[in-house]
Subunit: 428 residues, 2 copies
C-alpha cells in the first residue's frame, strides 16, 4: 500500500462535517477502493469553539485557510469556505502554488475565476476538481468530462437550484403565492444569505457555465449567461401551465450554435410528464444530450451534508487513485474564449398579460403580436380582476427576438397593467 | 502530444460500426480531449464482404480476433464479438496476455468469467473496461466505481433490459396480450437469437451482477442471482397494477444483508409515478442508493449504435488519458467471494390466483394465507372467466419465505386453476 493521502479541510459547515464523517466512518472502504488510507492532517474554520457533531481532536487546527493550504502534511486542500473571492480564492491559489491538489465545492469562485485557476493548476501539474460545485451528489462533472467524452455535446439542460424548485413545486402543491413560500423557505433556512443568489438564478447559472466549459471546450463565461429569476412567477402562471400539461421550472439551458454559445437560466415551461416536469422539491436534475449517446438524465439530491460530501469524496478518491485530468477535460490553454450569443433558438412561448378593460384593447394586442411575426396557438381571457383582464397566450414556435419585439410593442400600447410575462416552452 | 492510441476492433455489428464512426467523425474532438490521436489499426468480423456503412479501407483486416488482439500495432483490443465463451473469451485472454488493454461490451462473458479476467488483467497491469456492457449509454459503471466511491452502497435497482420494458409498456399502452407483443418484438428484431436471454431476465441479470461486484466489493456471482422472467405477466396483471397506482417492471435489485448478497431480477410492481414507473419503451434506468449520496437515478438509451458506442468510447478515452483502475474498482484479489443469500427483504406483494368455482374455496385460500402469516391488505374477486374466478390480492408487508409457503399451501388445496402469481411491490 502506498502512503496515505492527507487532506486539509477548510470550512466546517455541513459539507465539511459530512466529509469528515465519511473519512472517519468509511476508512476501511476508502482504503480498499483506493489502495491507500485517506487521512486528515488539519482543519480550519472561522469559529473554533462550536459543537460540530464530529470529533476533531485528532486534527491540527489552523485559523487561516492559506496556512492550512500550504502545510507540508497536506496533499489535498479541500476548499469548503465559499465565496468567489477572499479567503477561498487566496487559499486555493496558495494551495496550487504550493503544489497541492484542490477539491472544492465553490461554484461562484470557479464561475468567475475558473480559467485562471485551471491554468495555474495545470502549470503546476496538480488537480483542481469540483464535482461538489454542481448539482450536489449527482456526478455530472465526471459524466460529462469522462463518461461522455466520445460525444459532441449538443445541449445541456438542468434544474440545479433546489431552493427554486422547492418554491415552485410548493406554490403548486399548496396553492400558495410566491411571497408566502419565499418567506417559508427563508424560515426553513433554505435561502442563501443573499436570496437573489437562489431566486435570481445566479447560483444555478454558476453551475451551468461550468458544465458549458466542459461540454463545448470553451473558457468559463458567466458574464455571457442570460439570467432571469423566478420572482415574477405567480400561482396563476403555475395553474395555467398545469392546465396545458406543463410545469414551470427554473431551467438552465446551454447549447453551441453557429452564432456562439447560448447560456440561459430562466423559468421555462416543460412537459408535466417529462423527467424534468416530474421533479419535486429540492431535487436536482441534469439532462445531457450528445450526438452519439442521445439523452442522458441524472437525478439526485442537489444539496445537503451527505450528497455534497459524497461528491467531494468522489474527487478525493480519484486523486487517491492517481486519476488525473485537465480541470475542464482538456488543457485550459486549449479552451477557446466563449463567444456569447443571445438565445436565438426558436420555441413556443407562454405569455401572460393583464389588459385594461377598454374597447379595442385585444385588437391592439393581437396586432402587436402579428406585426412581430408571432402567431397565436391558443389564447384565453379570464374574468376581470382589479379592473384588469388576465390574458394567457401560447404562441406557435417563434424566436426570442420576435417575442421581445412583441412584448415591447404590447407595453407601448399603454393598455397593459403591470409587466407582461413571457416564458419559453421547452420540449424535452 | 504523445503517440496515438491504436485500436483493434473485433466485431463489426451496430456497435462496432458506431465506434468507427465516432473515431472517424470526431477525431479532432477526441484528440483535444485526450491529448492524443485515437486511431484504428485493424478490424475483424465473421464476414468480410458486407456493406457496413463505414469506410474500412484504411484498416488492416484480420479474420481471427485472437490474431487481431495480439497485433503489435494494437494498444487497445475492443471486443464486440459477444458470447460468454468462444472467440470473445479467447481473444480477450490473448489480448491481456499480450499486454493490451481491453474494452468490451460483453456482459455475458464478464458475468461468467469476470473474476478470472480481472485477475489476469491486473496481473498484467492492463485495463479491462466494460461500461458498454451495462445499460448502454448510461455511464453507470463509472458512476458507481468512481463518482460514488465515497459511499457504502446500500441498494441498486435497475430496469436494464430494454426489450422487456418495451414489451411490458407496449402491452399496457396497446392493451395487447404478452404473446402478441412478444411476436411483434421478434418481428422488429428486438429479441436476441435466444429470446430467453431477454424475457427470461438473463441478460439483465448479467448486468446486475457486474454492478453488485463493484458496489459491494465481491466477486461477480451470476449463479447466486435469482431470476424470473416476464412470460407469466398478463394484461390483467398490468391493468390491476395500474388501478392500484403501480406499474410492472422487470426490476433488478441487489443489496448486501447480514445473510449475504441478495440479487434478484424479476417482475415487480413499482409506483406508477416514481422514476422507474415512468419509464417507457426501450429506455433503461439505474437507481443507486448510497449512505451519503442518498438516491441517484440515471436514465438513457440501453442499446443501439450511438449509445453503446458512446460507452465504448468513454472507456477508450479513459485509457487514452491514462486513467487506470482495477476492473471492479478494487483489486480483484481483494474481492471477497459473494455469499449468495435468498431474498429475505420484506415487502408487500401482489398476488393473482384463479380459483375454481366451488363453495368454501375462498375460505381455504384465506386460511392458507393466514397460516403462512401473510396478512391481506386488499382483495378483489372478479367475475368468473372459463369457470374460474380471478382473485387479486395485495398483502401487507411480508417475507418472500412466507409468500412461498402461502403459494405452496394454496396450490396444495387443488382449488386453483393454473399457476398462482406473486410479484413483489417495491417502493422507491
Amino acid at each position: 500500500m502506498t502512503s496515505p493521502l492527507r487532506l486539509g479541510i477548510a470550512g466546517l459547515g455541513t459539507v465539511g462535517t459530512g466529509v469528515i464523517k465519511i473519512v472517519q466512518q468509511q476508512a476501511a472502504l476508502l482504503s480498499a477502493r483506493s489502495g491507500r488510507d485517506i487521512t486528515i492532517s488539519a482543519v480550519c474554520a472561522r469559529t473554533r469553539n462550536k459543537n460540530r457533531d464530529v470529533d476533531l481532536s485528532e486534527y491540527d487546527w489552523e485559523d487561516d485557510p492559506v496556512t492550512l493550504a500550504k502545510r507540508d502534511d497536506v496533499d489535498v486542500f479541500v476548499e469548503l469556505v465559499g465565496g468567489d473571492t477572499g479567503p477561498a480564492m487566496e487559499a486555493t491559489q496558495a494551495a496550487i502554488a504550493a503544489g497541492k491538489h484542490v477539491v472544492t465545492a465553490n461554484k461562484a469562485m470557479l464561475a468567475h475565476h475558473g480559467q485562471e485557476l485551471a491554468l495555474a493548476a495545470e502549470a503546476k501539474g496538480v488537480n483542481l476538481r469540483f464535482e461538489a460545485a454542481v448539482a450536489g451528489g449527482i456526478p455530472i462533472i465526471k459524466t460529462l468530462t469522462e463518461g461522455l467524452a466520445g460525444n459532441r455535446i449538443t445541449r445541456i439542460m438542468g434544474v440545479m437550484n433546489g431552493t427554486c424548485n422547492y418554491i415552485l413545486t410548493r406554490m403548486e402543491n399548496a396553492g400558495l403565492p410566491y411571497d408566502t413560500v419565499f418567506e417559508e423557505a427563508n424560515q426553513l433556512g433554505y435561502l442563501e444569505a443573499d436570496p437573489n443568489l437562489d431566486v435570481g438564478g445566479i447560483d444555478a447559472a454558476h453551475k451551468l457555465v461550468l458544465l458549458s466549459a466542459i461540454a463545448y471546450g470553451t473558457q468559463v463565461d458567466f458574464q455571457g449567461a442570460q439570467l432571469e429569476g423566478i420572482g415574477a412567477i405567480s400561482i396563476d402562471d403555475i395553474t395555467a401551465a398545469k392546465d396545458m400539461g406543463y410545469r414551470i421550472k427554473l431551467l438552465g439551458l446551454s447549447n453551441m450554435t453557429d452564432a456562439g454559445l447560448e447560456q440561459t437560466m430562466q423559468p421555462c415551461l416543460v412537459p408535466y410528464n417529462s423527467p424534468l416536469g416530474q421533479l419535486e422539491g429540492g431535487t436536482n436534475m441534469v439532462v445531457v444530450e450528445g450526438d452519439a449517446v442521445g439523452q442522458i438524465v441524472m437525478r439526485g439530491a442537489g444539496a445537503g451534508e451527505g450528497p455534497t460530501a459524497s461528491a467531494v469524496m468522489g474527487d478525493v478518491m480519484d486523486i487517491a487513485r492517481g486519476l488525473s485530468l485537465p480541470v475542464f477535460g482538456q488543457p485550459a490553454k486549449s479552451l477557446k474564449p466563449a463567444k456569447a450569443a443571445k438565445c436565438s433558438t426558436a420555441s413556443a412561448y407562454y405569455m401572460r398579460l393583464r389588459l385594461k378593460d377598454a374597447p379595442g384593447v385585444m385588437a391592439k394586442i393581437t396586432s402587436a403580436l402579428a406585426d412581430a411575426g408571432v402567431s397565436i396557438d391558443r389564447m384565453r381571457q379570464k374574468e376581470h380582476q382589479d379592473n384588469a383582464a388576465p390574458v394567457l397566450i401560447v404562441t406557435h414556435e417563434t424566436t426570442p427576438a420576435a417575442i421581445e419585439t412583441a412584448l415591447n410593442a404590447i407595453s407601448a400600447t399603454g393598455d397593459t397593467v403591470g409587466t407582461p410575462l413571457a416564458l419559453k416552452i421547452v420540449e424535452v
